[in-house]
Amino acid sequence: MSTSHDTLGCGHTLEELSLYLDTGDFPDPGHLDSCPECRNGLDSLRRLSTAGSELFSSDLADAGSGSDDWMKNILANLKLELRPGRTIPLRSEDPLDRLTETEGSVLALVRSVTDSTPGAVAGKVRLEGDVTVPGEAITVNLDLAVVFGHPLLGSATALRRDLGEALARHTELNIAAIDITITDVIDAPREES
């Protein structure tokens, strides 16, 4: 064993080998094929890396499942505060009333209608336009994940109609357009219906 703990007999350092393992960068790549010291060093580092992966797998198994009680307890303690977003004014018979709904509740409505469409799961939803001004034209932008195998075009058309109806029923927003972007295909055939 060399006395200096990071320089090999060939002049290269263990730090260089360690870096090479992570990045593939080495000052003199050809040297690695011919130098037995460096090769031994790399072999040892690779064995360590394998042992590291095994330790991680073992620790991960010991950590349990995300559906177990420990996670339920943590989730129960989180007390996630709501994200109301912008305040959307509502009409009222009495001018003294000031009725509003939150942007967050409209986003939740869009998600809920979308999720109840077979094969579709809502992602991010954006209301574009000034929702705080009554009658402003608003565009709904919806990211959508579709379960593999579902007819995409048909469900997008039906979904746009359902969303339009729900928004007309539950809000007073002037919806100019509903833009749906399929961002993901879920590759998990699963019973649903």
Partner: protein, 189 residues
């Protein structure tokens, strides 16, 4: 649907969670909670502290989700938050131990990873056991670098940020950690 959300890609969940969907956020927590917990346990060496760390990281994640530029990168981000909160936890513990050496200090001096001392190394049979023992003997700052790299897959730059040191120091510590681990486990050459 709760189980439907468990099938959905990270980016979808992160986008919904940023919009305020607690169910999507909980699905993310269920998905990556075990990884976060494993990382926090290995860094703090305490099961109780690790669960506190996971909880703190999730609270922070919920508050800061809309600052996450790339929703698909939510896993790495959650793990970085876990790493940072674990390091905070270790710092608090050290301050606490310094301020009141004998008060409630039971876990303050517990060796991280909660492993037995070197005398039991003869018992170590598997590579995993040998590595656990070797890790427990590693200087604290080297172990942190190693766990952040090998468990969390953090880049040198990200580790540098978490530990508030330079990327060059990360490179050096990581190399020293690996050399010490290899020497301890099998003898270098």
């Amino acid at each position: 649907m709760r189980d439907q959300l468990d099938l959905v890609p990270d980016a979808i969940l992160a986008g919904r969670a940023a919009d305020g969907d607690t169910a999507a956020f909980e699905a993310l927590a269920r998905r990556y909670g075990p990884h976060m917990r494993a990382c926090a346990r290995r860094l703090t060496g305490s099961h109780a502290d690790a669960d506190d760390v996971v909880q703190e990281a999730l609270v922070q994640a919920w508050k800061q989700l809309d600052s996450l530029r790339e929703p698909a990168a939510v896993k790495g981000w959650l793990l970085r938050l876990t790493g940072s909160r674990s390091i905070d936890c270790l710092r608090r513990r050290r301050n606490h131990a310094t301020l009141s050496a004998d008060d409630d200090g039971g876990q303050a001096v517990e060796p991280p990873a909660g492993e037995p001392g070197p005398e039991s190394s003869a018992m170590a049979t598997s590579g995993t056991e040998a590595l656990k023992l070797a890790l427990a003997r590693l200087p604290e700052e080297q172990r942190r670098c190693w766990v952040l790299k090998e468990f969390n897959g953090q880049t040198y730059e990200q580790i540098a940020q978490t530990l508030n040191i330079s990327p060059a120091s990360v490179r050096g510590r990581l190399a020293r950690a690996r050399v010490a681990l290899v020497r301890d486990m099998e003898g270098w050459r």
